[in-house]
Symmetry: C2
């Protein structure tokens, strides 16, 4: 931190605090802006009318005059602003008008004086601001200014501080971005100057966490620069709390023992069918877990053929995980024993904690766990699966299709939907984890583990909130270069009611901030539950593209049109087919078929036409991804298409040509079997839909971009 | 048409045509505007500088001065506009500048003079325009003016002419609508004056079809009025073609015989498996069609046990439908025979017409058909199903699940997807019809039939274009009050390249116009193929709501949050639960459950809790629709939930309480069977998704609103 600027701001803030205020006056705002090099028009405080005339004369051109009063927040509303005043007489008149209006507005308002400000040239009005988000902390915002944009909520957010590149990227993240670049012959604005305003505001709030909100509204951006016409700064009421954080190595040490345990104790294990403690025991045993399983139950000697212990303290040797299947009120005492035994992980299935209003009970177990260094999963969860360990520590049923996706859910119901969907579609899974109340372990801990877990190729998370948005973003950023992270954020529409003292605050609905910041972290946001599940199933199966050129090959012209729509909707690029490739395609298709893109091979073609054109698409290095549209005919039945496609794709993969291939199958019910066949062979295929295969390809592309595998960045 | 205004406009247009122009000058535009009462500022043409000074003096305040030249279309670009000129000296100077700039811009430009126009007050800039859409004809447009809105493409369209109510509705159809009503203390604009500008422009183009485009850009809207600052009018190059139309009774007469035939001839029937003429014969026979089936084949005596005829002319008695299964080149001759025999319908399965570039061949058969009064279905189709007649006149396979949805598709591939999806989900179908090249019969003919077909409760159509958008809108408007119409419009992104001489034209991309006008017609637009299929399956099953109050009852809190998101996303209203109803819900759910909405009964509840709360929702007349979130537990297994829900819903329906109920089932694979069970009993239920049940409910609500069953209108 620059010492000088810090001292200048510190002095201003201390003075504001000393007066018991949380809102800075305009001159105070200017002093802070000056300290951070935030460009503002020249201005002076006039304590009386003669000072006003003198300041205005020194600025030369027309000026803006504004009331300065610690008691008046909304200056325009108070009649405290006059724009474009020029000449001594006019300045005199405006001064009296402003002060008079202020008195009329609030007779007790303390009037410090009138601010005399250079009138900025005409330009594009934008807003640059910062708020303190309950999830993400300091967040910087950018949007066009004016009434229209406020109505359209065309604004973008980033975690503060941002560097120059990130700040620049914000200019392109609003829908009205072309306006800034200049349209209809108008010149664009000075992008660097504007980005610099954003960067400096973000630095200010990052270095002074007690600044709750900043509004530069409007900033006047012209081809020559960007100046904040108004600076509003609001301080936080109280001090900011810090959350406990664990180092990466600490997280990995306990997560390793959670996800790859050698020994599991079940506290509350039971031999009685219908009890949760019985389901957990049976699932551990039936699931085929190869490590030790120790039932703990003071009233039994033996459960499911295994020796039972009175207390977890009596279990011999090291234990990696204690699964709790006892009522909430007994959890504390048992957790003390778990802690004394040095077990690093407690999986708390029981409900009856914060979710039922029992916050004190939850705080109590968190305290016990922190005291002993035990990490908690839950409470109020179904448990968790670690499939490559054949570990099913849940009261549901075992799941044994090993594969590349790790799924987590905050809600038990969503966990059950994950399990059912996975079983129905034979989705290959590395883990399914319930997070429930997230009293301790949460998404960022799990991400830290899955990022380095060689079995996991994709992470999909259902969440309703984040305890620490910054920790999540950090974990996501570390994961995304290695594997895709899909997030279903529930509760998009819950916010809105947040009290805000600034325009930026009013624009920063929960979901708008989540959306921008998750995207910035390279996360693929699923629009709904079913999308999350489909992405989870498909992304590990689909190889990453290494370029932007998508080619559609279709037997049905109608599917081709819909697939093209989907390609556009998903932000993908239909390749412009070069003449030589076009000619090559044409050599295989009937004269009335359409080359170009989609390549329409026409209905009624034999398997050889599908095969030849798919080969061509895989062979040509300028093509990066294939979207196939199959049409069920007698000449090429569904399984014939599936077999030839899988065979050709496998042959090319063996030769090292690995491109994503997705397919939409239009036909009678046999296409369902064909899709399953293709899916199991690495071709993402769906029946009766043109949208879904392309949506999955789109998700893979979004990840590939975020991971830096393609040009362009996130 | 008002004789006087018509004569005034006629005179202007004739003069423009006489000069070989298609673009009106500003004074000509003003004359047309005046004739139609389109409010414009006062203005006069100054032929020389002294006239300019005199006109400006008469207007009093500041004026705008603009070049008038038939050769200069872009006046601003030519330096031909000066704004805010006041006083004789300034007017003189501006006159010389403008004329000088025009000469510099184009030395051969003919300069008629300079237009002197009253300067309008500041206000909200909007654009009102009209274009000639290739599908829908005259279309009127409205949006905010200015660069920003052009970038955001925030504009809305209606078929011209519009009445005052429709014109007013356009003001609320743009995203920036709140700006017009006034925000942040600013006054709103004069909505009636603005709507009147729209209405009058729409009337002008409707009464003068030769006017291709109109731009009022900008219109300055203030709290006191709305004046067009600039009027641009462009005429069509050539005359406008009229399409042949049939009267409703003519359409129904032939459609009745197509959809409920007593006798069908198959031209090109064959006994040889693998031939299309064999598939069609077998499907007619195997499908169980009870009417006469007459094979026509000159080389056979008998096909599938039925007497074959050498020519369709030899078939005894009346024939309602001739299905063609012969190569394209033989269709013409056979069609002549069909015409001579007086058969009203020809179903043309063969391809090889316009879709392969054989436009002349297609024109030839259309000519033959029109000459004989034969209606054509196709060519290039799979045929059609009329399930309640057990009629399968296709080369696919029979489909026998009778039900309420009629489906049509322009593409054969999509037709196959319809068939496969329907079979897989046991969708109840009244008809599936292939439209292919639409050489004659198209969506509006079919809609006219389905609207009055008692078996059809919902119509779902896949289309890539409409031959006559106005006829479709007419048919849709007549259908929607009786039953929902779902449309999947493919090719959303095809346009863009349309040449446009006006701003309105540039904003009128194909899809924007389709989207607004289909919505205006009360059509439910499906965002994708799978959505269309799901709507088709579900809408006939789901009763119509009779009010806006939606209540979510959920066992899984996590599903409740996602269902709430979906309710908001689909524009539905979560009911604010009145205190007495809240208390009633609370009496059934655990103390830590949440009443309010969603009603969260919490996981682990027995069947009786689901039943009691569902009963309450159905019983209370203030609740209009239920969204259920089920969570699979041992206490309430999936089929138990399904049975109790179906039983309670049926009981209430018997008592005359008919409300839409949709359900999202989160659980293991058994939930799939439970969903099918519920679906077959009128509860629209889906596994592993919270979005889809609510999307279907949203579609039903959109229809109910368009059909006038709820307040608010379309």
């Amino acid at each position: 931190m620059d010492e000088n600027r810090a001292a200048r701001v510190r002095a201003v803030l201390d003075a504001v605090r000393a007066e018991g205020r949380t809102t800075l006056t305009a001159p105070e705002g200017k002093e802070v802006a000056d300290a951070y090099g935030i460009a503002v028009p020249g201005e002076e405080l006039a304590r009386d009318v003669e000072e006003a005339v003198a300041h205005a004369a020194r600025f030369g051109g027309p000026v803006v005059m504004k009331i300065v009063s610690p008691d008046i927040l909304h200056k325009t509303e108070a009649g405290g602003v006059v724009v474009g005043v020029e000449g001594a007489a006019a300045v005199r008149e405006a001064f009296h008008t402003i002060v008079g209006n202020a008195r009329a507005y609030d007779e007790h308002a303390r009037v410090t004086g009138v601010q005399i400000q250079e009138l900025l040239p005409e330009g594009q009005e934008v807003i640059v601001g910062a708020v303190t988000d309950p999830t993400f902390g300091k967040v910087v915002a950018f949007g066009l200014g004016g009434v229209l944009v406020e109505v359209l909520k065309d604004v973008t957010f980033r975690l503060a501080p941002v560097d120059a590149d990130e700040a620049l990227s914000m200019l392109d993240s609003i829908r009205a971005a072309p306006v800034l670049r200049g349209v209809r012959g108008r010149a664009g604005v000075d992008r660097w100057a504007l980005a610099e305003q954003i960067r400096r505001v973000s630095l200010l709030v990052a270095e002074f966490p007690e600044i709750a909100e900043v509004d530069l509204n409007p900033v006047i951006a012209t081809p020559e620069g960007a100046h904040a016409a108004d600076v509003r700064i609001i301080l936080a009421d109280g001090p900011v709390k810090e959350r406990r954080r664990y180092a990466r190595e600490e997280i990995l040490a306990s997560m390793r023992r959670l996800m790859k345990p050698r020994s599991v104790a079940v506290i509350g294990a039971s031999g009685e069918p219908g009890k949760i403690g019985n389901s957990v025991m049976r699932n551990l045993v039936d699931g085929g877990f190869a490590g030790d399983i120790h039932p703990v139950n003071p009233k039994a000697d033996d459960i499911l053929g295994r020796k039972a212990y009175r207390s977890v303290g009596d279990v011999p040797g090291e234990v990696d995980v204690a699964v709790f299947a006892i009522p909430a009120r007994f959890v504390g005492a048992a957790l003390e024993e778990v802690g004394r035994k040095g077990i690093p992980n407690a999986v708390l299935i029981p409900s009856g904690f914060a979710e039922t209003g029992e916050h004190a009970l939850q705080a109590e177990i968190v305290e016990i766990a922190e005291r002993h260094g035990v990490r908690l999963l839950g409470p109020n969860i179904y448990g968790y699966y670690s499939t490559w360990q054949d570990l099913c520590a849940t009261f549901c049923t075992p799941y044994d299709v090993k594969g590349g996706v790790a799924l987590t859910s905050q809600s038990g119901g969503i966990g059950m939907a994950i399990l059912g969907f996975a079983r129905s579609t034979r989705t290959g899974v590395s883990a399914i984890v319930g997070l429930g109340n997230k009293s301790d372990l949460d998404e960022d801990d799990l991400l830290t583990w899955f990022a380095q877990d060689p079995h996991t190729e994709c992470v999909a998370m259902h969440l309703e909130d984040l305890k620490d948005g910054r920790a999540f973003v950090e974990a996501a950023r570390a994961t995304v270069p290695k594997k895709p992270v899909v997030v279903l954020k529930a509760g998009r529409t819950a916010a809105g009611a947040r009290a805000a003292g600034s325009h930026t605050g009013a624009l920063a609905g929960d979901d708008a901030v989540y959306d921008d910041i998750l995207r910035q972290a390279g996360v693929i946001r699923a629009p709904g539950l079913h999308d999350m599940l489909e992405y989870a199933r498909a992304l590990p199966v689909l190889p990453a593209p290494c370029g932007d050129n998508v080619v559609i090959i279709t037997g049905a012209g109608g599917s081709g049109v819909l697939l093209s729509d989907a390609v556009t909707d998903n932000g993908l690029s239909l390749m412009e087919i070069p003449p030589d490739l076009d000619e090559a395609f044409r050599s295989f298709i009937p004269p009335f078929g359409a080359a170009g893109n989609p390549v329409d091979i026409t209905g009624g073609e034999p398997p050889s036409t599908y095969e030849a054109t798919i080969r061509l698409g895989l062979e040509d290095p300028r093509v990066h991804a294939l979207v196939l549209g199959y049409w069920h005919t007698i000449v090429t039945p569904p399984m014939v298409f599936a077999e030839l496609t899988a065979r050709v794709v496998a042959e090319f993969r063996e030769r090292g040509v690995v491109k994503p291939v997705v397919a939409s199958l239009a036909g009678d019910v046999e296409v369902e079997e064909a899709c399953q066949y293709l899916f199991e062979r690495g071709v993402v295929a769906y029946p009766y839909t043109t949208e879904r295969p392309v949506a999955v390809l789109g998700a893979k592309y979004r990840w590939a971009r975020a991971a830096g595998l393609l040009g362009g960045g996130s």
